[in-house]
Symmetry: C3
Subunit: 167 residues, 3 copies
């Protein structure tokens, strides 16, 4: 039904806003984490998010296979996917075809019964990065955001914790 | 007549939006490319833009002398200048006085008869760059965007393919 | 009374906008500079700001103790704090507890009698920085902006010299 994309910079309040939008739907919310707790910095960030979110969420760790996870959890409460940019990074590290995967997600979203709130990052508003890999990732993230925004019913851009409605 | 500035991050959908705005004016559109196909990465990007845009455009390669090119093509269809940040980079590499050139462009725009749609990049929303040259470029791009925005009739900020009206 | 936060990228026209908002209040405006003129690049930037602003401002250099300075200057004209991201950087270099200091500022703002206009930077919309210190600063700046935006009566996001109302 409803597909909502929440975008913004690092520590802009995107996740908090996405949690608020997810909780507004009826049913038990489902947290779809694309992060893997591989190092201490990431573990600390995951713990902070979990502490704020509360314990009444169904939790799924989905580093790569997002569409199957959304299909498997469909029919219940709203899903919060946090976040697409990390998912993209995981796909690229695993040498998966990210353009095909993103296109498949964009195609699958409108057919889902339960709402989906997706968090992503804007990473293309700084100086062009020196290394080619970072430029490739930055380009991919920009294209992904355009593709998912086109498939979404609503898009919000969060700055300093405050949402601007883009769509 | 109409001067429209389209700004946004890398791969935010700025060029696509600018093509759409340019095509909405009557007459054969003119594509003013500030890029030079100096390496494979840039050649690939130019080819992608050209494939999307279609072949019904008049094309001009203008790395430096933008005002004369806009005067020379005035009186016909709308011009799309893609993009100002690359033009600025070309001016700085050629050791031209970029502040004077940008001021001359801002002064010339309101006097043109045919519409002009200009694409630029926001590059100042990341961490302060380590090297002084990148900081200098970042400052110049920000000042240029302010100067051209002040001279424009309309300014749009594109995020994830979606335009926000700034002016 | 009025607390106004002006955010945006480097050279986006934030300071100019903040000066305009500050001057709109009655009384002699107070310029609270968090910058210290430690090198030539910073000295040049300070001189540019001062030349544009004019000489009719009361000036205070406050690298660290912002809340006492706002209390000491309360009751007169509006204060312009330029800028919070530099203040944050000063706090971190001095190994002060920035989260406590930012929380104290957010708590103090609503109780002040004279208006306060605060300038800050968005630094989280580029690629994730390579070094951990830059990531830590970026995260801190994002959290600070959320905290001060929550305490503010008005928040504006400036792009290419043009303000967007966030709150």
């Amino acid at each position: 039904m409803a597909v909502i994309l929440i975008t913004g910079g690092a520590r802009s309040g995107k996740s908090k806003r996405a949690e608020f939008r997810t909780r507004a739907f009826p049913g038990q919310p489902v947290y779809v984490a694309t992060a893997e707790a591989l190092d201490a910095e990431m573990q600390a960030r995951i713990a902070t998010h979990r502490a704020r979110r509360g314990t009444d969420w169904i939790e799924r760790e989905v580093p790569l296979d997002l569409v199957p996870a959304l299909v498997a959890t469909d029919g219940g409460g709203a899903r919060l996917v946090d976040c697409l940019t990390l998912w993209l990074s995981n796909l690229m590290h695993a040498e998966r075809n990210w353009e095909r995967e993103v296109a498949a997600l964009a195609a699958a979203l409108p057919g889902l019964k339960s709402p989906v709130v997706l968090v992503t990052n804007e990473v293309g508003l700084g100086i062009v990065p020196d290394n080619a890999l970072a430029r490739r990732y930055r380009d991919a993230a920009g294209l992904m955001n355009q593709m998912i925004a086109a498939a979404a019913d609503e898009v919000e851009f969060v700055v300093a914790g405050l949402p601007m409605k883009l769509k």
